[in-house]
């Protein structure tokens, strides 16, 4: 009988239920979209801010030490210490290894070049990079971490001919030397073997807006060979998904109690990831690039605040709309309420019936709202983060379904409560007389 009454109320008051349902639907659609975006916005913002470069830089700890004798700094200008390229694989083994999304090691070299043999030599800076390096689960390199670099031509390919190198030339340097794609030039030997000569082929010309515009970019292995330091890396840029920085992120972990330190360690702050990198790679100093981290944190904080505000407003509006629709629906059925009371129905059993109606409505509208909201989030995501390759399934977050349905239930029940309470307070005999 309960279900019969429940179903009939939907069949008979289709319009009223529809109005209340649409209110819940709109509210939950907005909330789902906001929650879905809020859940994934960290990743998206990180991707967006990745265009500003890495958020962690790793370099040899020895570079921190001053080597002064008699007031003279004896440390080589380019830095004398190296990290080992082979140890970079350890980045994936740290606690937050899966949050590392890009790695770009660098090795600078001073190169003497001439357009052709016999021409006067020109000293230029060269830097070895990864360009499309297979880093276990993803491919990475300088282009990934510097998406603003504009390349004409192609990135250097790993050396196939021992007598020639494929390089990319910075745009200013290319202009200065009159180099075009496909041109060749010669390098005056190597730092390790100065008498040898190699031919370099210009695979591309890059515009970065930075120092690279005056440099030669070559593969890391070529740079290592040129410098004569196998497996050597001078500096590593790391891009990692991190939690926005807060006061706790900035504390010195060594000053914390073991429990607090564990909490700090297990949070994906840039600082804690840098700390873990220092632990994983001996002799490495890792530090966060604070400007990027702070920007990410500020953007996230503001967007999250705005989303919560929109969600709350949507739910509040839905609550009012449900309240109005349910008030009319219940008023229309006051005769039934009076009859039920005269038949001995307790206020509780009648309230249960109306709350079940509101609950069922919330369940249906909440579920549809979840699906629509997920779609809306996908659409919004694709619009806001254009070019991010956002797919609909990327925001269909199953864990949000119970949350959204629970919110729909709260809205429906809270919205219906005033009308239900008013209806139950009415004198049944008065209702029956009025209904007569």
């Amino acid at each position: 009988m309960f279900f019969r009454l429940l179903m009939e109320s939907f069949r008979r008051q289709r319009r009223r239920k529809m109005l209340a349902g649409v209110a819940i639907l709109l509210g939950t659609t907005a909330v789902t979209a906001m929650l879905a975006l809020a859940t994934t916005i960290g990743d998206r913002i990180h991707k967006e801010l990745a265009v500003y470069g890495a958020n962690i830089v790793v370099y040899p700890k020895a570079d921190l030490l001053d080597v002064k004798v008699g007031g003279v700094d004896l440390k080589p200008a380019s830095g004398g210490a190296y990290l080992k390229e082979s140890e970079l694989a350890k980045l994936k083994t740290i606690f937050w290894g899966n949050n590392i999304t890009g790695v770009s090691p660098e090795l600078p070299a001073l190169m003497a070049i001439a357009r052709k043999a016999g021409d006067p030599l020109i000293a230029v800076n060269a830097v070895g990079y990864w360009f499309d390096h297979d880093f276990n689960t993803f491919k990475t390199g300088a282009p990934t971490l510097h998406p603003w670099w504009r390349l004409e031509g192609s990135w250097p390919i790993p050396r196939s001919n021992p007598d020639s190198r494929s390089v990319v030339v910075g745009t200013n340097l290319a202009k200065k030397l009159g180099l075009k794609i496909g041109d060749t030039f010669v390098t005056q030997g190597t730092q390790s073997a100065p008498s040898s000569r190699l031919t370099a082929i210009v695979a591309g010309i890059v515009t970065t807006g930075g120092e690279e515009d005056n440099e030669i970019l070559l593969t890391l292995h070529d740079a290592q060979a040129y410098v004569g330091a196998n497996d050597a890396v001078r500096r590593v840029e790391v891009s990692a998904r991190t939690k926005p920085e807060d006061a706790f992120a900035r504390v010195d972990p060594d000053s914390l109690s073991p429990k607090q330190r564990e909490i700090w360690y297990c949070r994906p702050y840039a600082n804690s990831i840098a700390y873990q990198i220092r632990e994983a790679i001996p002799g490495a100093q890792a530090e966060q690039v604070r400007r990027v981290e702070q920007s990410e944190g500020n953007v996230l904080k503001r967007i999250s605040g705005l989303m919560w505000l929109i969600s709350a407003a949507a739910l509040l509006a839905a609550g009012f709309a449900v309240s109005a629709a349910m008030a009319t629906a219940i008023l229309e059925r006051r005769g039934e309420i009076g009859l039920m009371r005269s038949l001995g129905a307790s206020k509780g059993s009648i309230a249960l019936l109306f709350y079940a109606e509101a609950g069922l409505l919330a369940l249906i509208a909440g579920t549809i709202g979840y699906l629509l909201g997920s779609g809306l989030a996908a659409w919004l995501g694709a619009r806001i983060f254009a070019g991010d390759g956002v797919a609909a399934e990327a925001v269909l977050i199953p864990v949000l379904l119970p949350v959204v349905v629970a919110l729909a239930l709260v809205v429906a029940i809270a919205g219906s409560s005033p009308s239900i309470r008013t209806a139950l307070r009415m004198d049944p005999s008065t209702i029956l007389r009025e209904d007569a």
């Binding site: 009988m1 009859l339 005269s342 001995g344 307790s346 206020k347 005999s429 029956l432 007569a436």
Partner: protein, 259 residues
């Protein structure tokens, strides 16, 4: 003789078994008053009502509009509670009950028959009867069907109210009132909305129920219907005037003797 000319206070009546009226009372009011707070002060809808109705008795409550009939019906139907005095239904003082207990008590003790039938329009005759079962305890389709057969609607069980005549709807209402076997049937103008033919059918049905031992308290404006009752309780300006039994003396029953 008019209602206002004679005021009769019912007292203990002897019956052939030796039981007194108070022993057999299924409804007993002692100095019952019901007042409401209105804009112009307190309004006394019913004042100092004292009478009792014995099990198996058929009583008609009459009076003009505003005389307190509805207030009295609400009190007897446990839809309301007196401001002062004692109201006992089946020997239980309703004043001491909580709202929930009163709901339960109403489901057990009172069967309502309304002038406007008050059937749920989207439920069939059978389901309307089962609705009373549902709020009382649990539904029993066979029992509900039997109740409809008893009121002559065995072939109309699956019809919704709009497919039934006024008389048939009232009979569904009577079947619903009877389904939980309450000791008291409270009928509010049961024929007030019926044509003569249907009025006759319903009147015969009530007579039949009375013959079977049901206690019937009936509010009516219709002198013919009031004449079917054994006793008439007349109300005027919130005061109760009781008339002696006009027909053959009822055989008093204890409430537990109800069929």
């Amino acid at each position: 003789m008019t209602v206002s000319e004679v005021k009769v206070v019912t007292g203990p009546l002897a019956d052939p078994t030796g039981s007194t009226r108070d022993d057999c009372a299924v409804i007993a009011l002692k100095h019952v008053t019901r007042e409401y707070a209105g804009h112009g002060g307190v309004v006394r809808a019913l004042g100092d009502a004292t009478f009792s109705i014995v099990a198996g008795e058929w009583v008609a409550i009459t009076g003009p509009s505003g005389s307190g009939k509805s207030t009295l019906v609400n009190l007897i139907g446990c839809l309301d509670r007196p401001t002062a005095g004692e109201l006992k239904i089946d020997n239980v003082d309703t004043a001491s009950m909580s709202a929930t207990e009163l709901d339960r008590f109403r489901a057990d003790k009172i069967g309502f028959i309304f002038q406007q039938f008050h059937l749920i329009p989207y439920l069939s005759a059978l389901e309307n009867v089962m609705l009373a079962q549902y709020f009382h305890s649990m539904t029993d389709e066979a029992e509900a069907r039997a109740a409809l057969v008893r009121v002559g609607l065995g072939d109309r069980v699956s019809h919704v109210p709009s497919e039934l005549s006024g008389g048939e709807q009232q009979r569904v209402c009577i079947a619903r009132a009877l389904i939980n076997n309450p000791p008291i049937l409270l009928a509010d103008e049961p024929t007030g909305n019926l044509d003569a033919a249907n009025q006759k059918i319903v009147a015969e049905l009530l007579q039949d129920l009375h013959r079977n031992g049901h206690t019937i308290v009936m509010v009516t404006h219709d002198p013919e219907m009031a004449g079917l009752a054994q006793r008439r309780i007349a109300l005027s300006h919130g005061q109760v005037f009781c008339h002696p039994v006009s027909g053959p003396m009822v055989t008093l029953r204890r409430s537990t003797d109800r069929l």
